[in-house]
Symmetry: C2
Subunit: 154 residues, 2 copies
Amino acid sequence: MTQAIQNKTGFYLEDLSVGQKFTSDHFQMTEERIKRFAAEFDPQPFHLDESAAKASVFGGLAASGWHTAAVAMRLLVDGGLPLGNGIIGLGGDLAWPKPTRPGDTLHVESEILEIVPSRSKPNQAIVKVRSTTLNQHDAPVHSFTSKCLVFKRP
Amino acid sequence: MTQAIQNKTGFYLEDLSVGQKFTSDHFQMTEERIKRFAAEFDPQPFHLDESAAKASVFGGLAASGWHTAAVAMRLLVDGGLPLGNGIIGLGGDLAWPKPTRPGDTLHVESEILEIVPSRSKPNQAIVKVRSTTLNQHDAPVHSFTSKCLVFKRP
């Protein structure tokens, strides 16, 4: 089993291989952060108010899925996916299998699934990466299998 | 051609049909908003600094894709996708065909693609919705084809 790479920087296309794994630092979701993000971007009762959330399908306060996705991105940028040219995502497949709750501690585990070199631009490739955000019980709360634009070392 | 529905509220499962279209209000992305979101969730040079962004593949300052996605969610919650029980997404397919730029005015157009009633829970269904975020030139900057949990009128 491959050891996951943690908090390195400066991986370019020639440093990547299918099956490579990366692990991020940890981030704590707080009730204050959940409500602040929701107030700006996703002001629905189950993200803002405990009693409304209890009566909802979530059964309690839950972070906006977009908040969890944004926190996952921050963990990737801070060393969780150490691409030398930055993380440039074109899109992908996103899922929220469980809600993120106040107090949850999140981290992201990523794996390189596929590397497709560009036919016209020899210095770049589309790299498919699956990033799974896990809570402190190692339960996935978010996953994103994305196509990233990755360059060779300049 | 179906007229898109704008800023209505309280659509439940029995009000939805395949092919139905909804249109959101508009939202202006500013440089200040782009940099503030990026500083918190996606602190990469091309989202934070004009000269770094000019030298990057973006060719100029670009919003984090997660910022565009979060703004799209706000537009949907504010009447762009008027579901009576709220917008509860399970996941889906996301793309960023073009960057969002400072000064862009965004709105979201949504279409109901599929309605799959639950076998075990007669009061709910999974509704597949494609939401496309467009800029002031009607160019798509973000799309999300999501599976939403939708309930019958209580």
